[in-house]
């Protein structure tokens, strides 16, 4: 029996970064907000104290912070002609679970996308002609521009205390920053983190090659910081346990260290953890959400009625919940119709491992944080002429020293035995003098007609609901892009004086067992045309106007950066639209 709870103004599905931002903004507007989170509550001191936060086996190898596939998973295949099978161990990406979501275990790379990224199809068509794009590439403009989002990027960076060097303040290029970035209204709130030796060498070599290297913008604190909400963060200690881990000393920007302390003080906010939303409920018209249904760990089913529903779960669960709730027309790749599930993307990552003379180089790879490093942006987006190369897209690349953790960090030259005395000798010899960037080439993945999410015809979850099925493969465009970028990246290590370089190109087919990033994108994308997008430019559902869907599921394609800055900026943008427009006149904000 479903038990009905007292109605709320707002129900939020998932209390990660965007759930927390929306909850704060809407509670701040005076609304009565309930957030429902599938996973457990997490606090710094009780859940990842310094005494065991740095446990590589527990968190990196055994995936303690992530969703357990036993609870729910999805099925995977490369091609539409194949039969998808359920993923039983996470590999290519790590679905978050629990309060704080991916914000707990991210590296805290805090980027803005390029202005042209938001008008991608228009821009590329204008510059190269429509014929330059592959026929089956389905990239779109976002319906929102960089200028629209700038104030919201700014809010997130000041919330997080982002450490970085501006490259463009109000149109003025600033030496030492990224000259390709869109104009920002002011500098970062904190200076960049100090750079380790390897990054310094990389920057020098990059400069010598004519590039403009800059520090990676980081949500790890270069100094103690108090954000505009009054919440404080401590300085980063360069321990090198960021991604996959919770930060033990309040140094990494997470919902816990930036928003939740003030959100929890609001009497009009409440949250339920360990409760999985199974459905967004609609009224008889199908045009209005009436709330959500969720199940607690006791197996009890509850209905939480609400006037406004914010869907802010992880990308693929956003898409699955829309499909299971009958909201929006499911995407059909054969007929090229429908919207829910289309333009699904991931990332095109590769790396270069370089071996230096141990007698001359000691890089101390353990002096690390999730995003200290020097990057270049010459090969990102459309920052270079793609004409001669026959592909579109790109990515940033950098010597980012995320960790020297003992289990993972054992780079040895090709030809070394995989075990035994020779292997040990090689590990010992190269540990200090090899560079394997935590972020190497961070390439874009553009969208295609045959890369999408739908409901699996065979496999079901414990409630009998179909699992989400992902159909995804690399296309030639991305593989060409990656080969070009990886070669460019390797040239810089060559210039640094590496005596041996191993290029780890990204190759097809898409492998769901090899970690890339957790940046699954798309499937419930924003746009200007209800025929090709699930959401309008304010992340509002075209079909159910009292439903807003946040997160990277709104990206029409994935640019060559980490997504969190844009995910958060979009959440602030949507919250602003709700506060200043929707609440005054609830209904569809865009007449399309």
């Amino acid at each position: 029996m479903v038990r009905k709870l007292p109605a709320k103004d707002v129900v939020i599905v998932g209390l990660g970064w965007t759930g927390s931002i929306m909850a704060y903004e809407l509670a701040d507007a005076g609304l009565d907000v309930m957030a429902i989170e599938r996973g457990p509550w997490r606090n710094t001191a009780t859940d990842h104290p310094p005494g065991y936060a740095a446990d590589e086996l527990r968190y990196r190898i055994r995936h303690e912070l992530f969703l357990r596939p036993e609870q729910t998973t999805f099925t995977f295949r490369n091609k539409m002609s194949q039969t998808a099978l359920p993923i039983r161990t996470w590999g290519a990406f790590m679905p978050p679970n629990g309060v704080g979501g991916g914000g707990v275990h991210w590296n805290a790379e805090t980027w803005r996308f390029l202005p042209t990224d938001f008008v991608l199809r228009t821009h590329l068509t204008q510059r190269y002609g429509a014929g330059f794009l592959p026929d089956d590439m389905t990239i779109q403009d976002w319906g929102v521009t960089y200028d629209d989002l700038e104030p919201h990027y700014d809010r997130f960076e000041y919330l997080c205390g982002t450490s970085g060097q501006a490259g463009n303040v109000k149109g003025q290029i600033v030496e030492g920053g990224n000259p390709f970035e869109g104009p920002r209204s002011r500098h970062y709130p904190n200076p960049p983190q100090d750079q380790p030796f390897g990054a310094t060498l990389f920057a020098k070599a990059a400069r010598d090659l004519g590039y403009k290297p800059f520090p990676q913008p980081s949500g790890n604190m270069s100094r103690a910081y108090q954000n505009p909400l009054g919440v404080r963060l401590g300085p980063c200690t360069f321990c090198g346990f960021c991604e996959w881990f919770g930060c033990g000393n309040y140094s990494k920007a997470t919902p816990q260290t930036t928003i939740l302390p003030v959100l929890l003080r609001k009497p009009n906010f409440a949250a339920r953890d360990n409760s999985e939303v199974t459905r967004i409920n609609l009224d008889a018209s199908g045009k209005r959400a009436t709330g959500v249904t969720f199940v607690d760990t006791g197996g009890n089913e509850w209905e939480q009625p609400a006037d406004l529903v914010i869907l802010s779960a992880y990308t693929i669960f956003n898409v699955q919940l829309l499909l299971l709730s009958g909201i929006g027309k499911p995407y059909d790749p054969v007929g090229n119709s429908g919207v829910i599930g289309r333009n699904f993307t991931h990332q095109t990552i590769s790396d270069v491992v370089s071996f230096f003379d141990p007698a001359k180089f000691a890089f101390n790879p353990f002096i690390a944080s999730g995003s200290i490093g020097m990057c270049i942006d010459e090969f990102n987006g459309d920052n270079f002429d793609h004409g001669p190369h026959g592909f579109v897209g790109g990515g940033y690349m950098g010597q980012v020293q995320t960790n020297g953790r003992p289990i993972e960090t054992a780079p040895v030259p090709p030809g070394t035995p995989r075990w035994g005395a020779q292997w040990k000798k090689a590990v010992k010899e190269n540990y200090q003098s090899a560079l394997k960037p935590g972020t190497g080439v961070h390439g874009s993945m553009y969208s295609y007609r045959d890369v999408y999410v739908d409901l699996d015809p065979t496999y079901k979850d414990r409630f009998g609901r179909p699992l989400a099925r992902m159909t995804i493969d690399f296309h030639d465009n991305e593989l060409k892009q990656n080969a070009f970028l990886t070669d460019k990246f390797a040239e810089i290590f060559q210039a640094m004086g590496a005596r041996q370089i191993v290029k780890e190109y990204r190759k097809g087919p898409y492998d769901v067992t090899k970690y890339q990033t957790t940046h699954l994108c798309g499937g419930a994308i924003m746009g200007t045309d209800p025929g090709t997008s699930a959401l309008n430019r304010y992340l509002q559902s075209w079909d159910v106007p009292n439903l807003f869907v946040t997160g990277a599921s709104a990206f029409p394609q994935n640019p060559g950066y980490n997504p969190t800055g844009t995910v958060a900026a979009l959440a602030y943008w949507a919250a602003d639209a709700i506060r200043n427009r929707y609440l005054k006149n609830p209904g569809q904000l865009i007449n399309a």
């Binding site: 606090n43 710094t44 001191a45 009780t46 104290p49 310094p50 005494g51 065991y52 103690a224 108090q226 909400l229 009054g230 919440v231 404080r232 401590g234 300085p235 200690t237 321990c239 033990g248 000393n249 309040y250 302390p261 003030v262 003080r265």
Partner: protein, 413 residues
């Protein structure tokens, strides 16, 4: 938020309670407001409300004393189980003289030796405020002390020894601010109830005011200036600590966290500053100066330093200075150097949740290390911290850690 029907109940109950002596005017807004402010300043809710309860002031919270456990009574306006049928005179006698309505003596867990410094009007205002809260029917068995402490008649002798009745009078040689602070600290805020050393019978030692005491498994540290632990704190530092629960030196947790949460954070900035001004005038001796501080041997210090580097320095920094308003400065936090290491050991063993306030909402927490460090390791790091950062603080032995661990295991809080 109180709902309509409840308000009706309140009014009926109050109407019924208005006896000959109960003169509070329910519409005296100014008195009710003053009373609410003073009830916070006097921290009535800390004892008379079970933490997290939806029924403020309905009593029942166990109060641990060196002589056994008492439970705070119900002080809602309920006529049968609360104080709804008490006259203002009866209320005043209890609060300021420690004499209950039936003539029995109150135990000094009720800090009437401090509240006696309040004026009659202030206490009447507290009563006026308490009259406006929801009556709750909750009979509390107050006296849970063992024999012979359960005999209240003994309190007649105690009162003669330790209780000096009388309102606070301004010292005309001092500033207005000092006098306000002295009134608050000696009266409603009853700082000395925890921070002043006690005799074996639990009476204050007035000559050692605010030089620290042990209670409920915590060391309430010496909070004197002069040569005392707060010698490097400015008036603003103390005021900020009281208002925000944090300053550049320390963070309030445990019982003091509760005091900040329920009481001092709700005071005006002028009042926390007034208390700070008064406290800065209370001079004490150098910590541990009366005892030759035992130093840990070299190997223990080396081990403690290694543990500190590994587990503590990420937040407290390698120089122990911490991060302002987040992680305490171990050299300036009063708890580092207490003669009795109870708080230091408790915080390392169990961790500590600092208070979150409107002024400082972060509320960072120290993780527990009791699961990870054995008695010798914990003694080593505690000795290292006290030796390197503390002021003449004696080293801690493994045996002290063993006992502290056992005592904490036996505690329920």
């Amino acid at each position: 938020m109180r709902k309509g029907p409840t308000i009706a109940v309140v009014l009926i109950a109050l109407g019924a309670s208005t006896g000959p002596g109960a003169s509070a005017d329910l519409q005296d807004f100014a008195a009710v407001e003053r009373g609410r402010y003073l009830a916070n300043a006097a921290d009535c809710g800390s004892c008379h409300t079970i933490p997290g309860s939806e029924h403020p002031f309905s009593g029942g919270r166990p109060i641990e004393t060196p002589f056994g456990v008492l439970a705070a009574p119900n002080i809602t306006p309920d006529r049968e189980t609360g104080i709804g049928s008490w006259t203002n005179n009866e209320f005043d006698a209890a609060v300021r003289r420690g004499i209950s309505r039936n003539g029995a003596r109150l135990y000094p867990a009720m800090p009437f030796p401090y509240y006696t410094r309040m004026s009659r009007e202030d206490v009447a205002d507290i009563r006026a405020y308490l009259n406006t809260i929801a009556p709750v029917h909750n009979a509390v068995q107050v006296n849970r002390l063992p024999f012979p402490f359960n005999l209240r008649a003994a309190m007649i002798v105690w009162d003669r020894l330790y209780f000096t009745p009388g309102e606070f009078h301004d010292d005309v040689s001092k500033s207005k601010e000092w006098n306000r602070g002295a009134y608050l600290a000696q009266g409603p805020a009853h700082c000395g109830a925890c921070h002043t050393p006690k005799t074996v019978l639990g009476g204050d030692k007035p000559s050692e005011a605010l030089r620290g005491y042990m209670l409920q498994g915590w060391t309430a540290p010496d909070i004197t200036s002069g040569q005392g632990p707060l010698r490097n704190w400015s008036v603003d530092d103390i005021a900020e600590y009281l208002k925000a629960g944090h300053n550049k030196n320390a963070a309030a947790a445990g019982l003091m966290g509760e005091v900040v949460d329920l009481s001092t954070s709700k005071m005006t900035d002028q009042d926390t500053r007034a208390i700070a001004t008064y406290l800065k005038g209370v001079t004490g001796m150098a910590p541990g100066s009366s005892a030759t501080a035992d130093k840990a041997d070299k190997d223990v210090t080396a081990a403690g330093g290694a543990i500190f580097q590994d587990l503590c320095s990420a937040c407290h920094q390698q120089d122990g200075k911490g991060v302002a308003n987040m992680f305490p400065n171990l050299s300036e936090a009063a708890t580092t150097s207490t003669q009795d290491p109870a708080t230091v050991l408790r915080v390392i063993l169990q961790g500590a949740q600092s208070v979150a306030t409107d002024r400082e909402p972060t509320g960072p927490a120290m993780p527990a290390f009791g699961w990870q460090l054995d008695d010798a390791q914990l003694a080593a790091v505690a000795s290292y911290v006290r030796g390197r950062f503390g002021k003449n603080a004696p080293a801690v032995s493994a045996d002290q850690v063993r006992k502290a661990r056992a005592a904490l295991t036996a505690r329920t809080d």
